[in-house]
Amino acid sequence: MHGETLAPKKMVQKTIIEPFRIKSVEPFRLSSESERSAFLKAADYNPFLLSSDQVMIDLLTDSGTSAMSANQWAGIINGDEAYAGSRSWLKMQAVVKDLTGFEFILPTHQGRAAERIIYGLVGGKGKTFISNTHFDTTRANIEFSGAEAIDIPIENATDPSWIHPFKGNLNTEKLEKIILEKGAGNVGAVILTVTNNSGGGQPVSMANTREVSRICRKHGVLFMLDCCRVAENAYFIHLREEGYSGKTYKEIAQEMFSLTDGAVMSAKKDALVNMGGFLALKDKDIANECKSLLIITEGFTTYGGLSGRDMEAIAIGLEEVFDADYLTYRMKSTAYLGDHLNKMGVPLMLPIGGHAVYIDAKQFYPHIPVDQYPGQALACELYVKGGIRSVEIGSVMFGKYDSMGKLIPASMELVRLAIPRRVYTQSHMEYVIETFEILLEDRKNVRGMKITEEPKFLRHFTAKFEKLDQV
């Protein structure tokens, strides 16, 4: 049964093979470098604005891009589309309850809707949210409600070359200080994101979770888990934390949930689906208020804006993801790309995270100052030279302006190569590695960028850029 095996089968061979074979394929078109230069210019040098048929290898995100299993596709056909009381919902509810241990489960069309509902409810003007690192949409939802979002990763977490087994941990000393300073009543919630996506896909340890839990309970502060990659995080705990090598990945995840008051999940990551999410809560009163908000903007409580078939696929995916052979394959294939790039001298966020490899663009292009967005420049180069789409996670995504309109840069300038689950093969990864060889040779000639147009919130999605003339 999925999720019950203790460890992957031992194999003598070193090659990581996929514990599946391919059942259905999706062709993509090979393009030339000159075509891609034109496409990128038309997309105002923002890879988000490229159309997908202009991309060869799409490492923009691991969100919603998974290949579903034959079982999940069968679930798609089996979906019960009843508006109220759908069988597919009851199945998903049972699986999520079993995993999280929470009594109240609310389906949402994706993770950001779950965030908006809960953080909108407990947030608002004057409230503070504290996290190991808020993700872009999380931060936007919180700031949109008028509240403040504070990131407190552990010391040195923003040093890309610093090695720590649980670099995603939250700084618990600072946590207690901030709670005391703001007053527990003004803290909307403490959000632990596992794995810590914006911090390089780094895991959080159980010990750290336990300590955060203790502090939150002591002060009566709501403790939420952003669990979209909880299985990948469990893999690292199993591998690196003392006392967990004998537990299954699912048991580790369950223990983590038990330390918190609730969870939001974008099922588009570790539930191996293309759409969906949920909010899981322990407290009945909070859950009831959230249900009212759910109906207004998402959908009735038994579908929350999801089709029946998607709920069916989530129920199946959430069990598949804890399979030991799957998780081993998943994590080793990410490491395969990371290790090769590391050996070639591509500056990376170390250690290699779970769902993505993060390039340190500040070091890759030391001649490009942060206000000329070295990360954006690297993402553009990667596309032009290889047709590979990646995403900047630096000052474009998280930068702000001071009152004089000067850029306050992000703490790191990263480019993320996110790896969709079960989609690309080893030879695709080798192609990516070769493209980096080309990029390394040409790195001195690459120029910075400037923003020509940007929206107020989540600017990285739709901002427009120009290439600067001078190196």
Binding site: S52, T61, T65, I295, T301, Y303, D310, T462
Partner: protein
């Protein structure tokens, strides 16, 4: 009048979904567990599900094939461009923002266009639409013709607007406090009633005179267009597709729950002609729904939607669709059951006030009737009366609608004529035993949209 031909389906069945049969005793228990609210029943406890036509359609084999063509790229998915092209081609709006469903689009549009104190006129309220208008600081004002509130009126276009009502509102509040007029095709709460093109043209002229936008709530636009083809002078020779386009061309923006007309299980969009509104909506959709090239929809669902839009305006499809609803309605009329006399396009609406004259509106006659029908046959229907109407925003007083209805909503392409016969038989039987039905009292009332989750107990 010429005898109408049979409406046989222009398709055959390709995939089936088995149903569950239950006993009366089991159903009485299920009903009790669900607090006498049909929304709280599980689908497994239901035999024929007439709760809603929203998201419950059977997709065609081409739509299922489209599901396999899903391009799940986070940004720039091909499926989005197909969906956008279909909307531009069949509905004619310039800019398209996908949303996970209709209320996602209503939410964004209300936030952009409505300011505090505004009045939003519309041809009758709809539950979620009105709520989003109120949450944005506006107040809904009903401008539908009076006949729409009379179940016995047999006017062909009971969804029409009363121009005098609209003019009075403009005089009273000033055009600057009316951000737009909301026009629904068809009008759900009036019993699925269409609006005529002649009426829409008059609304357009009045709005043009005062510089007011028209927003089209177009969830059942093809059904409305079909009724225009059948009943409005000068449209008998035009195709449903042409009439749909003509309706859309008279409006400035649209919200759509594609889960109805467009034959999909999930999806919706916001469409606008104005560049500035589009820019704002594009920036806002990222926060609430998803990036503007997927808006919270899987790629495959955008592809199925593109195919569904084309199928929905096909004359043969729409004739069979509305034909099936009319079949059920006529059967009930012939049996002497009190229904909204002009039979709508997506469902038949029972007049619960006449059906159960011994139950006062405070005892929720429509809610009681829906429960009785379920107990009799496992047919699930929906209350559309005082429970759905909710409370007034300012005083907290209950809205007391003239119409106290039970909606028998027919899913598209899902049920057969034999299923419709079973439904009619059950309603006839319940009618013959109507004196035994008792009223209900509400024991749990949620703050917003109470009909979804309210719980009841029988009055003994």
């Amino acid at each position: 009048m010429k005898k109408e031909r049979s409406w046989a389906e222009p398709y055959k069945i390709k995939m089936v979904e088995p149903l569950f049969m239950t006993t009366r005793e089991e159903r009485e228990q299920f009903l009790k567990d669900a607090g006498y609210n049909t929304f709280l029943l599980r689908s497994k406890q239901v035999y024929i599900d007439l709760l809603t036509d929203s998201g419950t359609s059977a997709m065609s084999d081409r739509q299922w094939a489209a599901l396999m063509m899903g391009d799940e790229s986070y940004a720039g998915s091909e499926n989005f461009y197909h969906m956008e092209a279909a909307i531009q081609k069949y509905y004619g709006y310039k800019h398209v923002i996908p949303t996970h469903q209709g209320r996602g689009a209503e939410h964004i549009l209300s936030q952009i266009l409505i300011k505090k104190g505004d009045v939003v006129p519309g041809n009758m309220y709809f539950t979620t639409t009105r709520l989003h208008q109120e949450l944005a600081g506006g107040t809904f004002a009903d401008i539908i013709i009076d006949e729409a509130h009379d179940p016995d009126s047999e006017l062909p276009f009971k969804g029409n607007c009363d121009l005098n009502k609209l003019e009075r509102l403009i005089t009273k509040h000033g055009a600057e406090n009316i951000p737009y007029v909301s026009i629904a095709t068809t009008v759900n709460m009036a019993g699925g009633q269409p609006l005529s093109l002649a009426n829409l043209r008059e609304v357009r002229a009045l709005c043009d005179k005062h510089g007011i936008m028209i927003v089209h709530d177009m969830t059942r636009v093809a059904e409305n267009a079909y009724m225009i083809q059948r009943l409005e002078e000068g449209y008998g020779h035009k195709s449903t597709a042409e009439i749909v386009r003509e309706i859309c061309d008279l409006t400035d923006a649209a919200t759509m729950s594609s889960k109805k007309d467009a034959l999909v299980n999930i999806g919706g969009f916001l469409a606008v002609n104005d560049e500035k509104v589009f820019e704002k909506a594009r920036n806002m959709v990222v926060v609430y729904e998803g990036l503007h090239t997927y808006g919270g929809l899987a790629g495959r669902d955008m592809e199925a939607l593109a195919v569904g839009i084309a199928e929905s305006v096909d004359d043969d499809h729409i004739r069979a669709r509305v034909g099936q609803v009319q079949y059920l309605g006529k059967k009930l009329l012939e049996a002497g059951i009190p229904i909204v006399k002009t039979i709508g396009t997506h469902g038949v609406f029972l007049d619960a006030k006449k059906f159960l004259p011994h139950i006062s509106q405070d005892q929720f006659p429509a809610q009681s009737l829906a429960a009785a029908i379920y107990a009799d046959s496992g047919v699930r229907t929906m209350e559309r009366g005082i429970v759905s109407a909710g409370r007034k925003k300012d005083t907290g007083e209950e809205n007391r609608p003239d119409l106290e209805l039970v909606r028998l909503t027919v899913s598209r392409r899902v049920y057969t004529q034999a299923h419709m016969d079973v439904v009619a038989e059950s309603v006839e039987y319940v009618y013959s035993e109507r004196h035994l039905i008792k009223g209900l009292k509400m024991v749990y009332e949620p703050e917003y949209l109470r009909f979804f989750q309210a719980r009841f107990e029988p009055i003994t």
